[in-house]
């Protein structure tokens, strides 16, 4: 069997692992437009901050490809899938034939049209190369303007803070981290980040840019030495779309991660997933999701049938030492507990836990996550215990035995 994988991040690595579980000999070729050994995209902010060394940004050990019998074509973009000929055409015209193809092309930064943006030397914050460029231009104490108060924008802010940058974050939304936090938690987090010296200007956007200045719609002017645009990402769906595959907001796959095209699979940030917590289809641009989709796809590509189910939105992230873990959907009956430094919100619906936000104290959050993923009925748990903290004690003895490995008599 001849496997070809386009992409070299989590979904691709998951795919390799999935294939190799079943097929230890088939040929695997990884194609990526980035020239690096597989590296962890979420680590770029840590790298920039200096917390992760050049060596440790790599997602897998140096001998990973060799150990897994993977050939690589790095630094070359795949520009076309010729599905009839079953081959991938690279930017230099070379075709790479496949029996099974994985498209794990991820996403790209979305840069909306903004007046005068072209006059600035703006950066996005998505790739190793992008942070390398930022690093080379950074000077201590620079004024930095970040457009976007989402996960990427704030991770960038945290990294740049290590260089004593004077940071201003602008976002159209009325709160920070709208994708993972509710209003209350966002306010707490915002105050916390502000206490570290980061300035937020919300509910507004840039009217116009000049080389070192942004004029905001609310009338304020923000001077900057460096501009970072981090308003969002868009999935890279072109290869599939051009080949005639079904694409909506992202690539559409079935539960085996197969696209609508024969022998072509897709996984990761470029695909649409089924969110089990809200019963909706959405793009779940999360590293664990990408890896696991890739793994499932890999197994299927190697001929074993597996399904990817129980995906939910979830996120673990920290800013300036304060951590947030959240998962699921926030639509339902809420339970909120709050202290000066912590915030906890549990969301119940249909007699199940369907979502939560933990901030400050995130210990053992995975127990909540499993409640959501496994769709455990509240009748099975001690709800007071559930509310007080994540603990195995809240499950009944039988469920506990099942989970923890049984009881010896």
């Amino acid at each position: 069997m001849n496997y070809v994988i386009i992409g070299n991040s989590a979904a691709a690595i998951g795919t390799i692992s999935g294939i190799r579980e079943i097929d230890s000999t088939g040929k695997i070729t990884v194609i990526s437009d980035e020239k690096y050994h597989t590296y962890s995209r979420p680590l770029i902010s840590y790298w920039l901050e200096g917390k992760v060394s050049d060596k440790n940004i790599y997602y897998r050990p140096a001998d990973f490809y060799e150990k897994n019998g993977v050939e690589t074509i790095l630094g070359k973009k795949a520009v076309k899938i010729e599905k009839d000929k079953k081959c991938v055409v690279l930017e230099d015209g070379i075709s790479v034939p496949y029996d099974k193809l994985m498209v794990a092309t991820g996403s790209k930064p979305f840069v909306p049209p903004m007046n005068g943006l072209e006059k600035t030397n703006y950066h996005t914050f998505m790739s190793y190369d992008s942070v390398k460029t930022i690093r080379s231009e950074l000077r201590e104490g620079m004024k930095v303007l970040i457009i976007g108060a989402g996960l990427i924008g704030l991770k960038a802010a945290e990294a740049l803070h290590a260089y004593n940058a004077k940071i201003t974050v602008v976002d159209m939304a009325d709160r920070i981290l709208p994708s993972i936090l509710d209003e209350r938690a966002a306010m707490k987090m915002q105050k916390y980040i502000e206490s570290k010296g980061v300035k937020f200007i919300l509910k507004t956007s840039a009217e116009e840019f000049t080389e070192h200045k942004a004029k905001l719609k609310n009338g304020e002017d923000v001077d900057f030495d460096m501009l970072i645009v981090a308003v969002g990402v868009r999935p890279n769906t072109e290869l599939i779309a051009d080949a005639g595959g079904k694409v909506e907001r992202g690539v559409i796959t079935d539960m085996t991660q197969k696209t609508s095209l024969d022998d072509i699979y897709s996984a990761g940030d470029c695909t649409v997933s089924y969110d089990a917590s809200s019963d909706t289809e959405k793009i779940l641009a999360l590293l664990p999701n990408a890896y696991m989709q890739g793994e499932v796809a890999g197994r299927n590509m190697a001929g074993r049938e597996f399904y990817y189910v129980n995906a939910i939105p979830m996120n673990a992230i920290g800013f300036f030492g304060k951590h947030i873990i959240s998962a699921g959907s926030y639509d339902g009956e809420e339970y909120i507990a709050e202290t000066e430094n912590t915030y906890k919100k549990l969301v119940f619906r249909d007699n199940r836990l369907v979502g939560y936000i933990l901030m400050g104290d995130v210990e053992r959050a995975g127990i909540y996550t499993s409640m959501i993923k496994e769709r455990i009925d509240l009748g099975e748990v001690d709800v007071e215990m559930l509310k007080s903290k994540p603990q195995m004690m809240m499950f009944g003895k039988a469920r506990r035995e099942e989970k923890l490995g049984g009881i010896i008599k």
Binding site: L43, M314, G366
Partner: protein
């Protein structure tokens, strides 16, 4: 594969396993670990106390391994079935804390990184420290 199992019938919630675990993994004696360290080491096993039952929980080294699959830094990996963490690679994002259905990935004493049970493969020969230290043989290390 031999794993650590806890029999809740015999767990007394004495918490000694936590202390033995923390000391063993700090590489110090109990006294030095808890009296002469800047920060008290954090155990990788955790006792849950109830009104009638108690039990200790630690990494199940489960088949699903969501922590390994979700690790953004490639810090978690599987060595001979044992889920181990390369503390040098961990960046403290806590995606594994989010993923572990048993709540067994622990945040270290500094609050910057995770640590987890590796069945004492890095520090002890033979039985894990929690198993050796349990005064009521509630914690066992065996094949099931």
């Amino acid at each position: 594969m031999k794993k650590v199992y806890v029999n809740e019938d015999w767990c007394l919630a004495c918490h000694l396993c936590e202390f033995y675990c923390a000391a063993a993994n700090s590489g110090k004696s109990l006294i030095n670990a808890f009296k002469y360290s800047d920060k008290k080491p954090v155990p990788r096993i955790r006792v849950e106390e109830g009104s009638e039952v108690n039990f200790a929980v630690q990494c199940r080294h489960c088949d699903a391994k969501p922590c390994v699959k979700g690790c953004i830094a490639g810090a978690l990996s599987v060595v001979d079935g044992v889920v181990v963490c390369d503390e040098n690679k961990c960046v403290g994002c806590y995606t594994c804390v989010l993923s572990c259905p048993y709540g067994c990935v622990v945040i270290d004493e500094e609050g910057h990184r995770i640590q987890k049970c590796d069945l004492c493969t890095k520090n002890h020969n033979g039985e894990p420290a929690c198993v050796q230290g349990c005064p009521n043989k509630a914690i066992v290390f065996e094949e099931r």
